[in-house]
């Protein structure tokens, strides 16, 4: 558990350093995600302890949104002033994105044997 957490933090740190020094247009944790993915690909499997720690972190991903979400309080002025553009953009863009992505994938992806099985057993 400890070594898995150390590895994840090391990947994040490496990602932060690499993006900073190379001036990459990617946030440090995203570079860390790519580094961890490359390490997993080299190893050929997800070690059990890393899987457990990662699943634990991602299972509570929603909770991690809360402190930043409470930040709405600190930016009420900006939201109040721009409430109409924000509402139109968020509603319109979310619906457009779902429609475009869903329609394209359903037209382009060929049905696969594995995808026709009962989803519960997938």
């Amino acid at each position: 558990m400890l070594s898995a957490l150390t590895l994840i933090l090391t990947c994040q740190l490496a990602g932060e350093l690499i993006t900073r020094f190379l001036g990459l247009p990617v946030p440090g944790p995203v570079a860390g995600m790519v580094i961890l993915f490359a390490l997993l690909a080299l190893k050929g499997k997800v070690p059990d302890d890393i899987g457990v720690v990662a699943d634990g972190l991602l299972r509570h991903l929603a909770l991690l949104f809360v402190p930043a979400g409470v930040g709405i309080m600190a930016h009420l002025g900006l939201i109040g002033q721009d409430w109409l553009p924000i509402s139109v953009a968020v509603v319109g863009s979310t619906l457009a994105t779902i429609a475009v992505t869903g329609l394209m994938m359903s037209r382009l992806a060929r049905p696969q044997a594995g995808d026709r099985r009962d989803p519960g057993h997938d």
Partner: protein, 244 residues
Amino acid sequence: MTDITPMADISDIWVYLSASPLLFLTLTLAAFQAGTWLYTRSGHKPFLNPVLTAVILMVGLLTLSGTTYETYFEGAQFVHFLLGPATVALAIPLYRQFDRVRRSALALIASLICGSLTAMATAVLLGWLMGASRETLMSLAPKSVTAPVAMGITEQLGGLPSLTAVMVILTGILGAVLGPPLLTLIGVRDGRARGLAMGTASHGIGTARALETSELAGAFSGLAMGLNALATAILLPLLWRLFF
């Protein structure tokens, strides 16, 4: 803390507790637990999303007690810090789904990139047409991406990460509520396509909703969440420099 005696009145205790990060860390977890309880009790009503409930509860509490966001964040930062490691951990579901990526790779990548570009372009375009400020546009642009990545991108553009998180949460909840009926309406029944759409548009909250429908949709949604984070993180700063 020698000034706390058994006789101390409630305001003394409040002053003592609010000076420590423990109180707001605990309240953040408790508010989220309350939100989760309400969501479960309601039979998973999308509009009773636990994040939304927790944020409303905490904002109400901070407003009533006259607490600043800075004071609150001294406690909440311990939760907030985990956004970084959680982003790195997205490599694991991405790796586990690698076989599925390969089997429908071309369709998946084409749909994802179109979806990702649609999310960025329509958000900025609609916001700009409606007269949003530049700072708001920076927070709107990555709104379909999972919070840790979206906040990182906005920070890099020079916008407000916490405002982005609010957009991200609004987008997530909206997609979770309206996504499934919309997909049914336009005739998208393939579980892979439904999952990919939910994850591309509405990240983690959309993924949670997709998982309720089927494991297949959930798997593709989680995958789309990770890939759209990657695509937006690479494309958005480049496109932003090109247009602004």
